[in-house]
Symmetry: none
Subunit: 210 residues, 4 copies
DNA sequence: GATGAATGAGATTTCATTCAT
DNA sequence: TATGAATGAAATCTCATTCAT
């Protein structure tokens, strides 16, 4: 359940041109942004000819689509796996936050692209993936819902809402790192994992009257 | 402290062309998105000539800039005002969430533009406004910090982090309404105000061992 | 009923940019062919900027469309006018052939474009104008039909067919001139007018057994 | 002298890939038009790989070239054969019209391609074949010329012109069928053969004063 | 012969911005 | 102020052709 499960371990001399293009696209999109990034930037970064991008992908959009879906599907799987384990809800949420933050630590460019260009760009590109994105919310909401049913979590808010707040907190943190408005580093990564769970599960109130 | 403080009460026959252009831009940007929206779309919507937009604004960007700053400055002021009042931190947060949600209720198009095209689009456009956006976080963090100092809030997480989570929750909810992945209506608006505070302040855990 | 009815007599310094673009397009299309002709070739020829072509026309296609329709509508009008006159059918046909050939004499580039890129290119571009082109056939067929009814023309072939043969002969002659496989000049123009009528009306047979 | 002289009688399982490609090209060109047809469309239609087209032909143009020349040479031969027979000129013309129309009946796609993409497209592609096309005119003109010399045909028009009119009529009819602006079927095919000769040889005039 | 991955030149079209009136 | 004609840079995508296997 490491975040690198679908990534080649050592990145030897790349022979799969399609993969090379995708990896180059991550760098290109992360560096210049999807819109400002020309297809030729991707090709240059990948050291392949212009048209090869169009040999493997129908359009520049499809490149981003592929990048997002590849990674998001992993996320969905991981959440499902975490949920299948015999853990307290709080631990499940911690594992999810952990996985996402580890994903960022492992490949910040890819996460930047996914969050900035897809997840947070629901108006333009993300619209296509709204359903996919909501699947993640639904899985998280499900975890919350079950915890409420067994009494582990309070029922003060709906599971849907709790999932929104949980994912929203993670996204804000990642956005902070991505745009350098928040300090980042090993310590911050670990702290963030703890803080997200602490905030959402523990709440801010000192006096918890329940 | 109503969200409409800066909006004309009755909207008479508009005579101020600059204002007409701004209002038209809200509609145009909300409808087509900032990128897909041509300057001529704004002009058409405002029923003014093409070039007049450039008489009042240096560029298409400046139109969005203006829209954002006008509104965001109100938000900053309001937060400061709320903070100045003798209220418990939890009530301050509730008032802030309430103001933002009321803003959306009052002018969903404007909030859609601000969130979708600026706040959540930090890579392209929002980059310019990152500092401004952080001001809001800082004000919220300050409220949290003071509450931690006086013992009202726990110190389990940093004020910065708490602010992030709080604003992240609000933004996710608004995003859900904007993209119709969340039901919206009077009841939902009120519920959201309560849930945001409940989640962030109260936490999910049933057993609060403090 | 001169072929120049819709053309400015003296071509002074052109002020109407739309007209300049159309006239430039005639030259550009005639010189390089529609497909090989870039929009920039038109703009260069017209001494205007690239984008102005798109200010006045939605696409390169629309430029050709406009050129064709402008001229073809004149042709249709002229044929109708000729038909309205109290002339023997043979004279009507002569007048039509004459008008078309004079059109070519007056503006060979325009006729080249119309014939080569529209009329004879029914697969690509002309398809759009098939109906318009058939209107001309129908008008001619009508002339033949009336002549058959009053006994001036034989009824050996259908009017439709006669119109086809008549127009086909004209088009072949023009094509010959356009591609320089047929000598052209004042004498040839006049001869062609006579020959077309002579062939279609008189027939080749020496012994007319009727 | 059947139009199918150069076509395999039974079309068994095709083994000659070159032939398969040519046959596929006829379908592909007829369906999409030469310009809109990609080399891969030909390959797909022929069920062969992309590059094989380039093994047998230097270019996409050469495929069309080959198609045209194969067929046009047959036409030239046939016209020569017809002329060599001891027939009245009118019968020779009828035989020629008949052969061309039968060719269309037998393989409408091939004739469509030849007429639409070569014969009527003299600006782009046909230019290369202008000389070849004129050979046919010359052979027909020769028939007319000899008939004028022996008094069978009148000398009112030049043989060249007569050939132009004759071929022009045929081409217009075929074009009508190709673009479905003229009804087609067995009866129409036969009628057309008669009408072409009747028009060109007999003329339209009721009173032939010779 | 056969395959299809790889190349890259090239053209249309869009649209923000300028500017003369 | 107000207009909208004029400008031209820029980027996607297509597809004929080449070539290594």
């Amino acid at each position: 359940m490491t975040p690198s499960r679908d990534v080649e371990p050592a990145k030897p001399v790349q022979l799969d041109k399609r993969r090379m293009i995708l990896d180059a696209a991550v760098v290109a999109f992360a560096t210049r942004g999807f819109h400002a990034c020309r297809v030729s930037d991707i090709a240059d970064e990948a050291n392949v000819a212009y048209g090869l991008v169009y040999h493997y992908f129908r359009s520049k959009d499809e490149v981003l689509d592929t990048l997002f879906l590849e990674r998001w599907d992993v996320l969905l799987e991981v959440i499902a796996e975490i949920d299948a384990q015999p853990l307290p809800a709080r631990e499940k949420l911690r594992a999810i936050a952990s996985f996402i933050i580890e994903s960022y630590r492992h490949d910040p460019d890819l996460m930047k692209v996914i969050i900035v260009e897809v997840t947070r760009a629901a108006n333009s590109f993300g619209r296509t993936h709204l359903a996919k994105i909501r699947e993640a919310y639904a899985l998280i909401a499900d975890i919350v819902g079950k915890a409420q049913a067994d009494g582990t979590f309070r029922t003060a808010v709906t599971p849907t809402f709790a999932a929104l707040a949980f994912y929203g907190a993670i996204e804000q943190v990642l956005t902070g790192w991505i745009f350098d408005t928040l300090p980042q580093g090993e310590a911050e990564f670990d702290q963030a994992k703890a803080f997200i769970v602490e905030t959402i599960c523990g709440g801010l109130d000192a006096a918890a009257v329940r």
